[in-house]
Amino acid sequence: MTTTSDLLLEIADDELILGWRDSEWTGIAPSLEEDVAFSSIAQNEIGHARALYELAARELGTDADALAFDRDPGEYRSAPLVERRRMDWAHTIARHFLYETADEIRLATLKESDNAEVAGLAAKMDREEQYHRLHARMWEERLRDEPRFRDAVHELWPFALGVLPPEQRATLAQHVGLDEVDAVERGQHSDELRELWEEMTIVRRSVPGATW
C-alpha cells in the first residue's frame, strides 16, 4: 500500500529532479525568453519539491533538506522521465508537454485528497502549474507537425506513462492522443541520476551541517 509520505516523495522527487534538469537550460536556451522561462519553471518545481518534502518530513520525523539531499541515489523515487540529462530542444519540449499533462492529472486527484494539508498544497501548486501548462501547450502547438518533435514524443511516451500510477494512465493516453503501452516504471534509475546526485549533494556531503 502506498502511504501519504510515499506518494508525496514520488512527486517531490519528480519536481526536484526536473527542476535541476530544467535549470540546465539557464544561460544556453535557444532564446533569451526561453532561458527566462525554463529558469523560472525550474524555480517553481524546486519550490514545489520543498513544500512536498516538508509535508512528508513531518510524517517521517525528519526535515526537507535531509529528504532532498541525504538519501542514497537508489532511494529516490523519481520517474525515469525526469532523470534524463538535458536533451535537444525537441525532446525538452516533448518532456515538458508530457510531464505537465501527466502532472495535471496527478494534481487533480491530489486536490481531492482526504488529507486537508495535502489537498491544500496541491491546489496551491496547481495555480502555479497553470502557467507551465500554458507554456508547454504553446510550444506543443508550434512543433506538433515537426517530425523531430513527433519522434521525441513517441520516444518519451513510455517514460511519461511511468510518471502516473496505473489507474491514471488511460486518462493521460486520452489527453495526449496516444495508445497506452508498457510504461517505464519508477525505481529503475539510470547512471544519469547518480551523476546528478553527486553534483547536487556535493556541498552537503563535503561539509555536513553547512548553512549560509
Binding site: V36, L121, R127, Q130, Y131, R137, M138
Partner: protein, 162 residues
C-alpha cells in the same frame, strides 16, 4: 501588552523583499494575527512556493514583533488561501504607480488562458494603453510575466494572476 492592531500596523511597514513598494499587508499574505500571553502568532502564506523571499519575510516579521516587545511565533501555511485577488486595492495602486501592472482579477473558477493573455485586457502601467502584448509568461521572479506596450514602446512587468 501589545495589541493585535499594533502588530498589523507594524506588519504594514514591512516591504515585500522583491517588490519593496508594496507591504506584506498590501500583498495579502498575512492570514491571521493572534496575541496570547505576550506571544504573537502570525500565520502567513507565500505567494509562490518557490519564492526565495520566504525566509526574509519570516525573519522581518519576527523582528518587528520583537521590536514591539513580544515573542514571535511565525507560521508558514502552505494551503490554497492566497490568490492574487488578495492584494489590496491600495497595494494594486502602489504596484501600478511603480511600473508593475497589477494582476488581472481571476475569472470565476477557470484557469488563465493564452487567449486571455493575448487579449486587450492588460493596461500599460506607464501610459495606460491597452495596446500591450505578452512577451513571456515568465519573468525575473516567479510572480511576474513580461509584456510590451505597443503604444509607448515600453516593456513592463505584469503580476501573474494566480
Amino acid at each position: 501588552m501589545v495589541s493585535e492592531a499594533q502588530v498589523w500596523e507594524a506588519l504594514a511597514e514591512i516591504p515585500d523583499p522583491e517588490i519593496p513598494v508594496i507591504s506584506l499587508v498590501d500583498l495579502g499574505v498575512i492570514r491571521a494575527v493572534a496575541v496570547e500571553n505576550g506571544s504573537v502568532r502570525i500565520e502567513f502564506t507565500p505567494t509562490f512556493l518557490g519564492c526565495p523571499a520566504l525566509e526574509v519575510m519570516r525573519d522581518a516579521m519576527a523582528e518587528s514583533v520583537r521590536a514591539l516587545g513580544a515573542e514571535p511565533d511565525v507560521r508558514v501555511v502552505l494551503d490554497d488561501s492566497w490568490s492574487t485577488d488578495k492584494i489590496t486595492p491600495a497595494g494594486r495602486e502602489k504596484l501600478r504607480a511603480s511600473g508593475f501592472a497589477p494582476p488581472a482579477p481571476r475569472s470565476a473558477g477557470t484557469a488563465t488562458t493564452l487567449v486571455e493573455l493575448n487579449s486587450m485586457a492588460f493596461r500599460c502601467p506607464y501610459c495606460g494603453s491597452k495596446e500591450t502584448a505578452l512577451e513571456n509568461l515568465f519573468g525575473p521572479t516567479p510572480c511576474r510575466s513580461v509584456r510590451y506596450c505597443n503604444a509607448c514602446r515600453q516593456p513592463f512587468e505584469q503580476f501573474k494572476t494566480i
